[in-house]
Subunit: 283 residues, 6 copies
């Protein structure tokens, strides 16, 4: 008797009950203002992960030794943002209730809000570490409050001042930078203060959200809004490893791969490797 066709991220095929980490995709990009396409990100990452090795020479660890379950992509409604966020929140809650770590793959950055709502209900003192090119601190964008350009502001609505740490930010309007300086902590352009922040947040529950456009477009052209001036792969690899291996990660996401914009596949391959390194580093 033959088996059904099961497709997972590379080596993420343990039994659900044994899993420590649960992957899921959130293929949503309805609020993307410039160039859509991140809806294809999660399935591209899953599909192309087989070009990777399960072993990382950086960490000398192997996915074969980890217990990770890939529950596939959510089927999200395009055009009704609140419904999509509710579905993401529900999936995240299920995973949290089963005492596993939710690892979401976007989609546009707004999907973070759905997952964070669930996480913040469970972990009252949760803090956010946020890697991105864009501040995402607008109060609204062309009239919409549920927009990728507002997602961190919406998270702030939930947890308030002093709990959000941004890194790599190199784009935003004047007001976002001004507002940010009063309510959150922004490390512009790079990760210079990351080590210090990681130390400071030791033990606290952390939601870690990685917008891959923090990378330079030379490394990662496959995204909706390429922002020149980002970091290179090794810098990001070290930064995510630092966070995942030292913080108490209670949920995380990787988002904003828009695979069709990079027909070489290099952007998808970069995303896969960042996901692998994070999966290997999370304790």
């Amino acid at each position: 008797m033959l088996n059904r066709n099961i497709e997972t991220f590379l080596a993420c095929d343990c039994d659900y009950n044994d899993a420590d980490i649960v992957l899921f995709g959130a293929p949503f990009d309805s609020t993307t203002s410039f160039r859509p396409g991140t809806r294809f990100g999660s399935s591209a990452i899953r599909h192309e992960s087989f070009g990777l090795e399960s072993y990382s020479p950086y960490q000398d660890k192997d996915l074969l030794d980890k217990n990770i379950f890939d529950s596939g992509d959510l089927e999200l409604s395009f055009g009704i943002t609140e419904n999509a966020l509710a579905d993401i929140e529900e999936r995240t809650e299920t995973i949290l209730n089963d005492k596993k770590i939710p690892f979401m793959i976007g989609g546009e950055h707004l999907v973070t809000l759905g997952a964070f709502r669930a996480v913040s209900k469970k972990y009252e003192d949760v803090h956010i570490i946020h890697f991105d090119a864009h501040a995402d601190l607008r109060n609204d964008y062309l009239g919409a409050e549920l927009s990728h350009a507002c997602v961190i502001r919406r998270c702030w609505d939930i947890i308030g001042d002093g709990k959000i740490y941004q890194f790599g930010i190199r784009s935003g309007d004047r007001e976002e930078f001004r507002w940010g300086s009063e309510h959150i902590t922004t490390n512009k352009f790079n990760f210079d203060t990351l080590e210090e922040v990681v130390k400071k947040l030791k033990g606290k529950p952390i939601y870690f959200t990685v917008d891959l456009d923090v990378l330079d477009p030379s490394v990662f052209p496959g995204t909706g809004t390429p922002e020149a001036g980002g970091v290179d792969f090794d810098t990001l690899r070290k930064a995510v490893t630092l966070v995942c291996s030292n913080c108490n990660i209670v949920g995380c996401d990787v988002n904003e791969l828009s695979p069709h914009y990079d027909q070489s596949g290099a952007s998808t391959a970069v995303a896969c490797k960042i996901v692998r390194e994070m999966l290997l580093a999370i304790k």
Copy 2:
């Protein structure tokens, strides 16, 4: 003193007050379920129209002899469908109130609903002629009633039975075809009954909506959901000319060009020529 940079569809540059037809773009694709990108359609058509001649050897007419004004693209909110439709409705109303014919370029097919709301308020007895590969008659799609897959159903909500004529339909679920057979008139696959319908509707106000995916994907691969088995260019050219030159067009649209999916530019060039032929044929 130098001029600002004005960009219009080829030769559509008369004074607004003199215009008989007013073009505008509706760059919206938030409800697109399969592959987004029609938001780039209207600006691509405007930009690439300069590869065309203003003269049509088919009709022996020239855009230089017509009075057409191009008012550019609306700035629509992604992620809040109702707001986008309201903005489209308002623009259409303005044009209708100035006694001109609105000619909208999409965007996904849902934009038709915004324009049609305005037209149906002004013209009580309006009928719809609809060219498409897809029936677009679902009541909802993944829970959303405002979806490109439901747009003709939503128009039916406004004008009811017996006033909608579809042509070229070759895709839909079983229920759509069943429902359609009771409430509207569907000419599957081709335009065989078009001439007869045009005669029958003589003099009545017509809203004409052209989903370009009625074309075969060989002719028009640049669209979100390519459906094999469509018509060729000459068939569509003749059909739009028949409708525009014989019907009392009170509003129309051309939609579903997703230019990035066809990097040859041929799909955009096809769209430009259909728009030219329609502009030349409308009386």
Copy 3:
């Protein structure tokens, strides 16, 4: 508890034991001489099938009413042709032994040989209906007897004269056409004699192999060796429906989609629809 990520061709998700037809992919292209890439064909077809409806207005049938199981892609060794063929033969045998119809999706055309070996062992009197642009009748190609350019010749080695019927052939070297005229039946360029052949083969076990490059490159540019002068979609759709609904199909395949060569996705969409129409027509 969450489910694993299962991916199948649209609506092909019944239990294996209930299935009448079993799909599997054969992602192999090692002998491709001109442009490789058909290894990506089967997974592209599975992935993009969700852009289709399960209902066909052509046949007024719905995949939801069929019992089809998708067993996913074989993991084939690149560079050792015999091993790959043996793996395909084994999978086909399993399906045949379970009294189901194997429906293989390539890969390059050579994969047909693996499946046909299994079918010919079970059905002594099997005949082949072959749609293709290329005769594939060489005895060897650059020294290799196991080459896509020789696949029908290798099938002939098994069943001999008078049992192979080719349609649509428009390319080959002089010797292939000469040899073919003595050993098999070739309908060059089109399907003019198909109806007659179908009648003649009534009741006989038929292996049906469809090389999608029988289509014109305007319809199907996503293939390794585009051959101008092929048939259009409707011609092929009618031809496969005729064969599948009137013949005793004991095995079949659809091959030579090389999806990356058509970045519009139209070729993959065409392949999906041909597969759907075949699945619906097979009794």
Copy 4:
């Protein structure tokens, strides 16, 4: 001792002295107004010709039986149009003086002027058969008289009224069509009168120029200015075969392939096959 790397069009490798036909490329596109890139046409055709068979089942002829020499691409100066035309004229003259038929591959259509200058000096009574989507009859284009859009007008300057026969024309400004109706013979849209014209020109020296954009963009998207509404491959194949096998061809060219605009390679493959059929048909 090893050989140098010689690259020719498929099977066009006889000794120069034995050749009946001499191929050469004219990679020039400096006057192209819309989208450049035809400079890559001739080398793409040469390179990709190896995807073809040398045998044509249409004509039952084989390039292996012909004597054809490929002299490669000219090295033309971009930006100085007159120099490029002079180099083309010189190459054509050499071939004519050696009593061989020059077969040029463009490049943009203006290159025809260089070759035709040489041909018209040798054959006083030469007539032109011209296949194209565009009339190319402007007297000047944005001030330039040496422009692709004026090339047939420039040929007319040399041979005058009544000697030019156009087919397939579906684009031009109003004035071009008016002027053409007085000075040359234009068969708009198709080849309906071709057979009759071929009969009428029996025995006369013919320069045959094929702008491949006479094909529909579905068949041939790889060109600078795709014009919807063209002919299909089989129509063009029959037409070029008719001309080449019945007329006294004293020179010919095939132009306007811009291979990069069609990343599937189908346009280049079409061009290769048209060249093959012409080479086989020329007596």
Copy 5:
């Protein structure tokens, strides 16, 4: 009453009379010898600028506070180089006469000659700062003296020895480097001496020409002749800011974006950001 469709570079929409800087595009690439396409550069930059923010966190400045006018693209004749240069010179002169700074966007690098002719007539002591991968110092290229490969040599014809400073040069023939060492100042590979040169030229009128291929192709693949070994974005960003904020810029240009060669759009986004940073830095 509706407005015409006006398209400008992001936030460059003040009244002409109030403008300090006037943008214009020079879409010309007729002398490009390797791969054409820079003609699409200026309109791509204008169109995609809306993916940027008007605010720069690098300089803490905002385009909303500047007075810049975008006069659109010139309509240049392809194939007659002198005419194109004359049109560019005329536009530049108009802007200079109105006491504004001309900021040209190419186009191939030869367009610099047109603008520089106008600038050098007005500013007798003008010096050139030139960023590029290529020396552009040939006396002629394939016989043409008006070629992109000769543009700086042609500028030297006007102003003579000691007034041209090149940076980033990493390609040229042996003779160009030899000649350059006698007549101008070349900083190979990088910007090591830029600060010193900027100090030395303090107060002098400077024409600043930026060939974007000075960037590494990883950052900027969208150009005709990608030259490995260039600088990264931050290096160029700092260098242009240094020049624009410290020199007396009397005219400048940014050229050689060929947007179609980078389908990710990252190259265009890089070009937009360099333009923004220059506009913000010019006093």
Copy 6:
């Protein structure tokens, strides 16, 4: 009398008898497991080399002063790996016997085995310097021992322990790294120990094999398996120059360019420049 069309790598056109170095292409990729296409590498490098200058400002040397012969691409059988390797070995032997240095351009990395077999027969004490992202040390891959993923292991079969030096390795399975640590010398991630190794191997016959995917995918996306975290162009340029100018190179190859995956052409341009720098540095 006209010349045949000869195409060589830039300026590699001396007489065979005078040549010190002989280039040849090995267009083979049948064992590629992830994404094929390196078969197009050698012809792309030859074709695009004309975008380069023959002069290197890095080394102040010019190909015009070197004696190099380009013997074109081998015609290799796809699907029979041993035959392809035998053909490569034979060509290499011919060149070695004529006392010239073979310089092979791949193709996938397995082609190295064919060339190395010939070299190792002639030079008993040959050592290997190997630049790569991947260890290529598997004993077999999916059952195949002749696979790109095993090529260095196969070379080790011939020469044994202590003679292979790898640099830049950042991917492999756990077992490859373990095995490698016992039998060969691996410098992970970078070239830190290269200078020392070059000194140590002074005078010994060296086979130098460069898998271009040692470069970061930002620099070189045009390859089958992009591995984030590689070196930049300048690092590789310096490293190959160091090896070629200081070692006793008796054979070398550059492989794994898959040009179609990078439609900007930047990857091919990078490959061309690495080849040029190596050709110039080899003594």
